[in-house]
Subunit: 324 residues, 2 copies
């Protein structure tokens, strides 16, 4: 065992690190419990067809697939060869891989709810603290095996859930002494309204994808990308005005009301943001109209958490409502 | 998601089960800590060559291998095809699978020690409570993903370690109210001595494999298997006499001393058993000369734990010294 190594993008955790991590994870678990969420644990592996097609094309490529066993067994060789040919065409291959490591905790949770619908009482509030696996290129702060801490509610349309999730973030971070974190919120309805205002609803995805990059590439590049995606000058001006809404939460809301005037979708989105930010006992909430998030299934309030500026870590939390 | 399912041999754990499991696992963790073992966590996946060849031919087949990503990428297709051909010949294929899910916690621990030799102080006592994966045929009480709780010492030849491990079992089971469990111990040296006495050391593996089946197939079938493995009648009689050593721990020791008379290896094994059973504060220890265990790397005391007879679960714990 002289040249042994550990797989790229994975880590051993020694006693010292485990103790620190347990402090953090136990704090998060106990806050989840405090707010009435119940623990759930799902297996590391899921059936491949449960996972495929749920994370976009890019996501599918990052799923770790598990090779079926006994493929070289004479009775399986024929099937295995057919499966391999499909794999070489870039296709999904139950003949070769029936199972895969879970990519996040959301889809396994949805699978659990679908399988146990009759036994659960709704609203069902569950939390899960488990590792997930992604065949990402390993780089600073990005691992192929890492732990996610999720709390989700299913079976309730109440905005009170969002308020509660803001309070969970706040309680967890205050307990850990992270006073300077920032909880950004937006409503996906604002982006729908923006698309309506400037280009018809069909441009919503293009606008969202471009805005989602603002943090990384800056306003000028976002405008370039919008142009490349077929938006014309006066549309881009509308988007720029939207992205430039600044000030305190109250000032942004007032400015957004003026910008969107009679747009009904925007009115709903603003109402959500006002309700959540005013009801939550969370003083670190910042309404951020530039927050977009990549996942297109979000329908309402979306969240993103940043650590203090001194911690150059990007997003350390996020989520949102997906009602459909 | 109407026909969703969970992979065979895996389980979801609901809140109720998680709370019960946590009671048990936390008890085990805290007993390990009480005895000075430090926590370690290793990734779910290991490099395939770390795992292959460590669990025997049968074990190799039960390892869940992870398909490399990007195999259908034009630049990888050539390599992937070569890898697949090897796989069809039943060979290990880094071109197709570089990684696999861990099969136990022992080999990852050995890999960790090999990689971090310079940073560790010895004796290094670590515990690990993590899931492992085996592509076993799922059946009652056997799962493809299950949790192991291991405590190992590296860098100490002292028999005191065995005494401590006996006490750990006892403390953990007493804390959980499992008063009727049984901790069987034997020394691998007794099996070496038995082979020496009756057929030369080269028969040790054959004898061990046959004896290991005693529980399942009974004495007559063990004798048949010994005969099939080339042992002759008077050799089988010696083994039968050995297997029939009964009574209290003291009675068995006395009888074993008589049976092996001047055999030095047996004398060492008996000394180990007397020391461990007399020093441990564990009143559930039963010396069992028929205990063999499948793994051939054991060199000294071996352990196996059985629940109360009413719990028909087979072995619920085990291990042993492997000095080499």
């Amino acid at each position: 065992m002289s040249k042994v190594s550990i797989p790229q993008g994975t880590r051993d955790f020694s006693a010292e690190t485990i103790r620190k991590r347990n402090f953090i994870l136990q704090n998060i678990r106990s806050v989840f419990e405090l707010y009435g969420f119940q623990p759930l644990e799902t297996p590391a592996m899921e059936n491949l067809d449960t996972l495929m097609g749920k994370y976009g094309e890019e996501g599918d490529k990052l799923i770790f697939k598990i090779l079926n066993n006994g493929l070289s067994d004479p009775k399986n060789i024929e099937k295995a060869k057919a499966g391999f040919d499909k794999l070489m065409e870039g296709k999904n291959t139950p003949e070769l891989t029936e199972r895969a490591l879970k990519y996040d905790l959301t889809i396994p949770f949805a699978r659990y709810v679908a399988m146990n619908h009759g036994q659960l009482s709704f609203p069902y509030k569950r939390y899960q603290v488990q590792p997930v696996w992604r065949a990402d290129r390993p780089q600073k702060g990005r691992y192929r095996e890492f732990t996610q801490c999720d709390a989700d509610v299913v079976g309730s349309t109440a905005l009170l859930n969002e308020v509660e999730l803001c309070n969970i973030y706040h309680t967890a971070f205050m307990n850990m002494g992270l006073r300077d974190y920032e909880l950004k919120i937006n409503s996906r309805k604002m982006l729908v309204a923006l698309a309506e205002m400037c280009g018809g609803a069909d441009k919503m995805i293009d606008i969202t994808i471009a805005i989602d990059k603002l943090d990384k590439i800056g306003l000028e590049k976002v405008k370039e990308e919008l142009a490349q995606r077929g938006l014309v000058e006066n549309q881009i001006t509308v988007i720029e005005n939207y992205l430039n809404l600044t000030g305190s939460n109250e000032e942004k809301i007032t400015a957004a009301r003026a910008l969107f005037s009679q747009n009904e979708t925007a009115a709903k989105g603003i109402e959500e943001l006002v309700y959540v930010s005013s009801q939550a006992g969370n003083t670190n909430i910042s309404i951020d109209f530039t927050l977009a998030r990549g996942l297109n299934y979000y329908t309402g309030i979306i969240f993103e958490v940043k650590g203090p500026a001194t911690v150059k870590m990007g997003s350390i939390g996020g989520g949102g409502r997906y009602d459909d």
